[in-house]
């Protein structure tokens, strides 16, 4: 990121009359998931070169790049400036571009984007004018709240999905994020109420073409589901896989274990969080240099996508692409996919992963599952601001640190910019409602208290 001093800044601000209009866009770009700050795209976007994977059982030809319909571009609601809504016009543009370059798998959920994601995807697909058999829709049964645990509520959710997506069948239906809350939670959501049995009936009736589940958390649940594969006949399973999590002490996060369990049973894997919500593209300068020194012309994000796409048993890799630059960068990476060599893969999940993990960032992927916080905090924004400061070296250890004054200002001024004061960490009362929602198992209240203690020390100059 370009550093400028005050004088330069005043010079620039003096001449940039249109600057204020641009300023707000600048913020948005900051939060871009996988925009490579130094990525250069000078060559033409390759058309018709997309890599496809074939489903081993039904022959679906699925583009290796799947579109995650979660991190959609947003804008201010023209009717209520305090509210943000999906920028559907931009979403349509992205959808059309994705189609044009061969993407044919779209993954949504009734819970995403405050419940507006499915509707948005329905609109985008309809306006594209493509025939229904030229793409695959994946959606989920996202019955997280105990108020939705009845069979009727689950059925209603599925029917609503069909309605919003303007279709009469779902290509890929997932039990959403099982693992959180353990086996007990799984039973309450899908087994005891007969919802899974009903979904299998729908599969038999052709209203669901493929039935699978997505998994985060307690590995016992994962193992349970696979042990009962003969009974449930999973058509696919969605797991988190990236070079940071390939080896993990927690089996529920250990990519190698999760993936190999699927290979054993010949169940194709759909990959989520290949980029960890941008954590693997918004890396410290040191890591940028590390990756770039190997392939200077490839984006930082491309390494993560090649890593996730290389294993053979992978059907598609999901990416929540907010901006056209994300989409174009990923199209380049996967048109066609150049698989990693064994040496490259070990370089990423060994040396590079260690390098990234040596920075004490909080593993937040900005999925917003924790939101809305009942006490109006903006949890992901707080954690991401902290991570940004960690990566930029603006989390001083003590007042003796060389750049203390500069870092202090950057942290505190940046904090107020990233998070409105009334949504900051000092408002957290530790009600712990968010904890069970976090797929990354972050002890959110503890992290928020820690960040707030740090902020207090900075403010009082008592670090």
């Amino acid at each position: 990121m370009k550093q400028i001093n005050r004088r330069d800044f005043l010079k620039i601000s003096g001449t940039a009359a249109t600057g204020s209009a641009l300023a707000s866009c600048g913020v948005k770009q900051e939060s871009a998931e996988n925009l490579d700050p130094s990525g250069q795209h000078t060559t033409e976007l390759p058309k018709g070169k997309m890599t496809y994977r074939t489903h081993p059982h039904n022959g679906d030809k699925v583009s290796i790049l799947g579109y995650g319909w979660m991190r959609l571009p947003r804008m201010k609601n023209p009717e209520n400036p305090n509210e943000e809504i999906i920028n559907q016009e931009e979403v349509n543009r992205l959808c059309n571009k994705a189609f044009e370059y061969g993407v044919n798998y779209f993954d949504t959920s009734p819970a995403y984007c405050q419940g507006k994601s499915e509707e948005s995807l329905g609109i985008a697909l309809e306006q594209s004018g493509r025939s229904r058999d030229s793409y695959y829709i994946a959606t989920k049964l996202s019955n997280f709240s105990p108020t939705q645990w009845s069979l009727e509520a689950g059925q209603q959710m599925f029917e609503n999905s069909l309605k919003y997506l303007k279709t009469d069948y779902i290509d890929y239906l997932l039990l959403h994020s099982i693992g959180g809350g353990g086996l007990d939670n799984l039973r309450k959501r899908y087994l005891d109420n007969g919802l899974l049995a009903w979904l299998m009936e729908q599969r038999a009736a052709g209203r669901i073409r493929n039935l699978g589940f997505s998994f985060h958390g307690d590995v016992k649940v994962y193992d349970y589901m696979l042990e009962h594969h003969d009974e449930y006949k999973w058509d696919f399973v969605q797991i988190q896989l990236n070079y940071i999590d390939w080896h993990d002490n927690d089996k529920g996060r250990d990519g190698e274990y999760l993936y190999n369990e699927l290979v054993k049973r010949n169940i194709p894997a759909v990959i989520m969080e290949p980029l960890l919500g941008g954590r693997l593209s918004k890396v410290p300068d040191h890591v940028v240099a590390h990756l770039k020194s190997r392939k200077p012309e490839d984006s930082v994000a491309s390494w993560a996508f090649r890593y996730a796409g290389t294993p053979k048993n992978i059907l598609t890799v999901l990416s929540g692409m907010t901006y056209m630059e994300h989409l174009e960068d990923n199209i380049r990476t996967y048109s066609p996919l150049v698989p990693l060599t064994e040496e490259e893969a070990r370089w990423l999940d060994g040396e590079t992963a260690n390098l990234i993990e040596s920075y004490p960032t909080i593993p937040c992927n900005d999925c917003k599952y924790c939101m809305p916080c009942p006490y109006a905090l903006d949890i992901p924004a707080i954690l991401l601001h902290y991570n940004k400061c960690v990566n930029q070296g603006n989390v001083p250890e003590s007042q003796q640190a060389e750049n203390y004054q500069k870092a202090r200002r950057a942290f505190l001024v940046g904090y107020d910019r990233s998070v409105p004061r009334l949504r900051q960490a000092n408002r957290c009362i530790s009600c712990r409602e968010c904890v069970s929602h976090c797929p990354q198992n972050i002890d959110i209240p503890r992290e928020l208290q820690r960040i707030d203690r740090f902020v207090e020390k900075l403010k009082q100059n008592k670090l």
Binding site: S20, A23, F144, P146, A376, D416, R423, Q449
Partner: protein, 578 residues
């Protein structure tokens, strides 16, 4: 020359004082805080002997240079009248002696009655502070916020955004009205305000009559053209009889530059200049209290000349009436009669009361709400922020350093400097009649942060005495009061404890909300069902150790309950050290 120096100094001084008054970063306060402290009335109220001696000496040497260079309100009037692009727009006016001294008496009485704000209505520095603080500062901050957006775009942390909010309708109305009155007076007659209303002007006028250096008219050179009179914004030169009312002269030097004959010079006085006698009705234009035998200076003597014999020799006893038949050189003019304007006092009281009534109504209407706990079924989005409203405090809170409610009330002239300097949005102008526009503490927008003592650093009048950070964190301005009916753990049986966790003084402990929760012999928590439970889930209520509480308001501000917090601060009439 004198005028150019005056204009340069005045411009620099005015710009810096204005910056001091609008600055919110604290930078100006460090370097320029003295500029507020050298103002006469603040120095008098804070008994700043050094400044008082300096101003006394300055005035005794060069007259009311203070009014031309140091007083920002005076300079503001010069700027307003400068916009009226007309040369020689003034005329001699009679001194409004009764009004002038009446205003001094009014000010003195208000201060003695502990109504500092009432005196502040006409005191020049606080008037200027109020105008700048309530009208200009918000605009300055909006400009800053535009810059901050740019800075954000360029990833610069040089400029940051600040909240702009209407702190008091009453104070804003007063500021606009006062500015309007002063602007009209300045447009029409230059320094009318300074020479009729301003008590500081009158007090300095008492001294400036005895100034060592003063403008004098050399009668032998004067051709009675009247240019000096018409360039005099104080309206204090009577060119007909060559007299200058030194009590009203602000030493601007305009007359000396206007004079084509070099008849006006700055000269040393060896005797008091003729002028208005204190409390004298309609001070004479002719200087009959002059001591003719003491006259050694031509210029001084010249003032006694009858103006129909401009070149005649000195004849001190030769006194003529004020109205004169036409002279050859003197231009025709109608001595303009100006009715002295009253200040906006009536309006003040009125709008003050209205503000009080309005805020009470607001409080009464504020229903007790809290964040709705809808079951979460989708991801993302924000819960609404519930804006806090001020609790009805039995005792008002005053900022640390103000010693007591009484001290603040009697010393503060409501200049708004502290209100604008407060980086935590804690201070705002009071709406109570007895303390109108004086700073009051409330914690809806922020709380009195432990590392901040800015209001005490900037206050020029000693209403808020300077205190160190250490003293500040040991000063008790109030104490926290718990409202059981609103507190989440008490009411809903859910854990919270935010007030305790954020208390900078460590004055709030947590105890179980009821006796159904207890610790067993191993120190583990046992719930109502007799089973061991996670300590983090035990509903705990705050207990305040009044002896340690400083009344900073962190608990009140950070309490998750809104719009009325479940814990709030009551002020102490007299502060104490803990």
């Amino acid at each position: 020359m004198l005028r150019k120096i005056r204009i340069t100094l005045a411009t620099v001084f005015w710009l810096l004082v204005t910056w001091l008054l609008v600055d919110f970063t604290g930078t100006a306060h460090v370097y320029l805080g003295w500029m507020a402290k050298v103002q006469l009335m603040p120095a008098l109220l804070s008994l700043n002997v050094g400044v008082l001696i300096f101003l006394l000496a300055l005035t005794l040497l060069w007259g009311r240079i203070y009014c031309s260079v140091i007083c920002p309100l005076g300079i503001m009037q010069d700027i307003i009248s400068w916009f009226r692009r007309k040369k020689f727009k003034y005329a001699y006016t009679q001194a409004r002696t009764a009004l002038r001294y009446g205003m001094v008496l009014f000010t003195g009485a208000a201060l003695l009655l502990n109504l500092g704000w009432l005196a502040g209505l006409i005191l020049p520095y606080s008037t200027y502070g109020r105008i700048t603080g309530t009208i200009v500062a918000p605009l300055y901050k909006m400009g800053n916020n535009l810059l901050a957006q740019l800075a954000e775009h360029y990833n610069s942390y040089a400029v940051y955004e600040v909240d702009v909010w209407l702190k008091s309708i009453g104070a804003l109305a007063i500021a606009i009205i006062t500015w309007g009155i002063i602007a009209v007076l300045a447009w029409r007659g230059g320094r009318t305000w300074c020479n009729t209303i301003c008590p500081v002007g009158t007090l300095l006028g008492l001294l400036s009559r005895h100034a060592l250096f003063r403008p004098v008219i050399n009668k032998s050179r004067c051709n009675a053209c009247g240019l000096c009179e018409r360039s005099c914004k104080a309206g204090c030169i009577n060119s007909k009889n060559h007299s200058i009312d030194l009590s009203r002269c602000v030493m601007c030097g305009n007359c000396m530059e206007a004079c084509k004959k070099e008849a006006l010079t700055l000269a040393k006085a060896t005797e008091p200049a003729p002028s208005v006698a204190p409390f004298g009705k309609n001070a004479p234009r002719k200087g009959n209290d002059n001591k003719p035998n003491g006259a050694k200076d031509a210029g001084t003597r010249a003032q006694n000349k009858p103006q129909n014999k401009p070149m005649a020799q000195s004849k001190p006893e030769d006194v003529v009436a004020a109205s004169v038949p036409e002279t050859t050189d003197a231009p025709k003019r109608k001595p303009r009669r100006r009715k002295p304007r009253t200040t906006g006092e009536e309006n003040t009281i009125d709008s003050g009361r209205r503000a009080v009534l309005a805020s009470t109504a607001l409080l009464a209407g504020a229903a007790v709400l809290r964040a709705q706990h809808k079951p979460k079924t989708t991801d993302g989005g924000y819960a609404p922020i519930i804006k806090k409203t001020a609790p009805q405090r039995q005792h008002r809170i005053t900022p640390p350093g103000s010693l007591s409610v009484r001290n603040l009330q009697s010393h503060c002239t409501a200049c708004q400097l502290c209100v604008d300097a407060c980086p935590n949005d804690v201070l705002r102008p009071s709406t109570r009649l007895s303390t109108f526009m004086q700073p009051e503490v409330s914690y809806e927008r922020g709380y009195c942060r432990p590392e901040c003592n800015r209001c005490s650093e900037v206050c020029p009048t000693g209403a808020i005495k300077p205190i160190t950070i250490e003293e500040r964190t040991a000063t008790q301005v109030g104490h926290a009061v718990w409202v059981k009916e609103l507190c989440i753990p008490a009411k809903e049986g859910k854990p919270c404890g935010n007030c305790s966790r954020r208390c900078p003084a460590g004055a709030i402990q947590l105890v179980p909300a009821n006796d159904k929760y207890r610790k067993n012999e191993h120190g583990r928590w046992i719930g109502p069902d007799g089973k061991q439970i996670d300590g983090r889930l035990v509903p705990m209520i705050p207990v305040v150790n009044i002896e340690k509480c400083t009344g900073c308001g962190a608990c009140e501000n950070l309490c998750p309950v809104g719009p009325q917090s479940a814990i709030y601060v009551e002020g102490h009439d007299v502060h104490r050290e803990i």
